[in-house]
Symmetry: C2
Subunit: 334 residues, 2 copies
């Protein structure tokens, strides 16, 4: 490896596949669940209760992240966190990631090292590890992440168990990442005036701890990735029930409200339609709500928790006051 030189940054085609993989591995950690880590044909991961929870997501440059707005570390963090949120939404503890990277040959080695560092940081935050991967050449920078989780003997929390009179709870931030994307799109100096929102877009703070509390009581749960309204729709459809919701209960946090004012946008659209914060929405029996509230209130740092409605017999989503603005869901080819 040449350490000192002029000219552009060292590209991945210059160092070659095997040296690149060595540089990636140097940035990754491990955990006791990793029985055999990267470097062989496949990894071996502990699945203590005899089941593995599995989810895959693809992130495409220009589509799911913009390298101009998100550093490589940010992209790694987001890719890992988004997938861990899916695992946590089943009531499982994230244990591992597998990461496929397709990258143009002129991609800077430093970018890939940053991606690995971001993945590793998101893993450390939840006690997981990267156990395997693949690196290939492509015209389009793409990150494929598979997350694995452990249910510790509990049944998975699906989208299908909501029952009439359950309450609808949401834990975690709503609208921060979407507002962050909006101010990034507006460019500086707007973006620089909203550092909390841009940070929320770049590195969502997924409340796995709140998901674990909800999971112990929830009849159904999702992570909010398509947007709150769309993901609540998934619960309603999956469970064959309706949801009676109150738009006025949706929290419009001060940073989100400020961005709405600056961009002359109704911030409720971000709260109801934005997904990248990976909040957790769950239906919980009415009698369990106080227990959930109490447990979530003891979390450090504090975690927002709101009750936004209840499950009803009739199909669909009904708003008791007004329908929030914004798209009702995210169609990737729409």
């Amino acid at each position: 490896v040449r350490r000192y030189r002029k000219g552009p940054p060292i590209s991945i085609s210059e160092v070659g596949e095997f040296a690149l993989i060595a540089r990636i591995l140097a940035r990754l950690g491990s955990t006791p669940s990793v029985l055999l880590g990267p470097g062989d044909d496949a990894a071996v991961l502990a699945a203590p209760d005899g089941r593995a929870v599995l989810s895959v997501d693809l992130l495409v440059a220009g589509q799911h992240f913009d390298p101009a707005w998100s550093s490589a570390v940010d992209v790694g963090w987001r890719a890992a966190a988004a997938n861990f949120a899916d695992v946590a939404a089943m009531g499982a503890r994230p244990t591992a990631l597998l990461v496929g990277l397709a990258a143009p040959p002129d991609t800077a080695v430093a970018w890939v090292e940053g991606l690995a560092a971001g993945l590793a940081a998101a893993c450390t935050a939840v006690g997981a590890a990267v156990v395997g991967g693949d690196v290939v050449a492509s015209a389009t920078l793409t990150v494929a992440v598979t997350a694995v989780g452990d249910l510790a003997g509990r049944p998975p929390v699906t989208r299908t168990g909501a029952r009439p009179e359950d309450r609808v709870l949401v834990a975690g931030r709503l609208g921060w990442a979407a507002a962050g994307l909006a101010v990034l799109r507006a460019g500086d100096p707007v973006a620089s005036r909203h550092p909390l929102l841009t940070a929320a877009h770049r590195r969502p703070d997924v409340r796995y701890d709140a998901a674990a509390i909800l999971a112990r009581h929830a009849t159904a749960m999702v992570d909010v990735s398509d947007g709150l309204v769309a993901d609540l729709g998934h619960i309603a459809t999956g469970s064959g029930v309706g949801l009676e919701l109150t738009a006025a209960t949706l929290p419009i946090d001060a940073p989100v409200a400020a961005a709405g004012q600056e961009l002359a946008t109704d911030p409720a659209a971000w709260v109801a339609g934005g997904g990248d914060d990976h909040a957790f929405a769950a239906t919980v029996p009415a009698g369990s709500v106080p227990t959930v509230r109490s447990a979530v209130s003891r979390l450090t740092p504090p975690c927002p928790l709101v009750e936004i409605g209840r499950v009803v017999v009739d199909d669909g989503l009904v708003w008791t006051d007004r329908q929030p603005p914004g798209p009702s869901g995210h169609e990737h080819f729409g």
Copy 2:
């Protein structure tokens, strides 16, 4: 969905994400190992012995497959088989796949349905199922496949256990897929004269049954994906040993020889350097070789098995007769 119309084939942007996913799911099967299949935030898969074997591969159009030469069904089959081979090389039985698809919005729905059918066929061949996936838009058609396997209580067969005096065995075809790619590149009428080779490139016949036999005795094993010489190098490096090999023992099967003659190419380069057949190379204690030979000889259809050398103390690969032609490995950014 419009059934009758003129004009180009229906694209995935026309049907939309959710309808596309429904069409994919309609082509997939399930198995008793699938405790919760596609449709929720994550899948739940049985991991009966408390461990999961995991591997990920990316296939990029134009890089790992050419849509002009491989149908969508072929691509699905290959993507699944390549990854199942990694799992089988650990001594595990493949149980599940997760599939991420990044596709241009004008991709034909029929192509994606074909991909799903190919994945499903490869799954059925080995008793596995697709348990989850993701579909996103991208300028570059990319398939990300994660395979999962079950070790059934046995230790994994890594690359690190080869011991001096072990014998080096290879089960499965060598050079067929590489020769198939060469005749496809030569175009018709050459390609059409070598249907066995083009079929081997498009839908490799991975001998999971032979891998399972080898795994019971092997001290080290790999699937041949980078090329035989390169992958044997991984065993030598991983185990801290050398391999003494005899080029004359490498089988040059009649179809491979015929393609070599037609293209004026030394077919030994395909045998020693080609990877896409996913043969299994293993080191086995000398005393176990007869048992392995006997068990493999009873497989239906017949499976090639050759002994090509032995493990020695000194590092590196040594050829007793001559070094085979061709590249020593596959550098994805080289």
